[in-house]
């Protein structure tokens, strides 16, 4: 009886995770696309030095970060993938969403402060582990914002 309840609960979480996860992911991707569109005038690069002849002024540091949680379905799918090996597609989309979100936040901060170029962009990734196995991934994007003069 207990195993049956556990099985049903597990299946319920799997279905809930799959549906809710899909909805949040597609919503997030839509939001990201429109925000990225709005930021398309900004230049970002990870160059250590600006090309000669490009005159800029007003340097300041910009940061953007996002912590994105996995859903239950992704966790189970990744667990299965761990047995057979291969690319974990469910986690790949999670990472790229988090990275895009962090990038967009960094660029928005730069634009709000009047900059149009962000250079020497660096990314950092860390896993967030809660006490009750609440797992997520944090992506930090940072760079130096300047204004073209």
């Amino acid at each position: 009886m207990h195993t049956l309840i556990a099985l049903i609960a597990g299946l319920g979480m799997l279905v809930l995770g799959f549906i809710a996860g899909r909805i949040t992911e597609s919503r997030h991707l839509r939001r990201l696309a429109s925000r990225e569109q709005a930021l398309s005038g900004m230049i970002q690069c990870n160059l250590r030095s600006l090309p000669q002849g490009l005159h800029v002024h007003g340097s300041f540091l910009v940061l953007g970060s996002a912590v994105i949680a996995t859903d239950y379905f992704k966790t189970v799918a990744a667990g299965l993938r761990n047995i057979f090996g291969g690319e974990m597609r469910s986690y790949r989309s999670l990472m790229s969403r988090a990275r895009r979100e962090a990038t967009v936040r960094m660029l928005e901060q730069a634009r709000e402060n009047g900059a149009d170029i962000v250079w020497n962009v660096r990314y950092e990734t860390s896993t967030i582990q809660g006490k009750r196995s609440a797992g997520g991934v944090e992506i930090l994007a940072y760079g130096t914002a300047v204004k073209r003069s």
């Binding site: 809930l16 490009l54 800029v56 020497n120 930090l140």
Partner: protein, 111 residues
């Protein structure tokens, strides 16, 4: 105080290196946030509580680094780097470091 993560500042000239400056903070999330987060682990999505906490803590670490730079008499910090490490489940250390320098305006043609 100018803070950048690049090796130089366009339009400025570094005239003196004051030394390495750093700031850190170790933060834990409170239980309520952990419970919210474990619920989020079923449905997915952004953990806003954690994002805010990390942004706040990073600001704290940055301000500690800046006060060190101020004590050294610097007017800019260049080549800033961030590092994050989880110490135990539920706590994270945020670390930021850079080089404190003194800068002056460069000749305008050099950009």
């Amino acid at each position: 105080m100018i803070v950048v993560n690049t090796e130089y500042i366009p339009g400025k000239k570094i005239v003196a290196i004051k030394g390495l400056v750093q700031g850190n903070t170790v933060r834990a999330k409170h239980v309520g946030r952990d419970i919210m987060a474990s619920f989020k682990n079923i449905v997915g999505g952004e953990l806003k509580g954690y994002t805010e906490l990390l942004v706040e803590s990073r600001r704290e670490a940055l301000s500690r680094m800046l006060s060190q730079a101020q004590e050294l008499g610097a007017n800019a910090v260049v080549n800033v780097r961030f590092a994050t490490s989880s110490i135990t489940a539920g706590a994270a250390e945020l670390y930021v470091y850079g080089t404190a320098v003194t800068v002056v305006d460069a000749a305008p043609a050099q950009g």
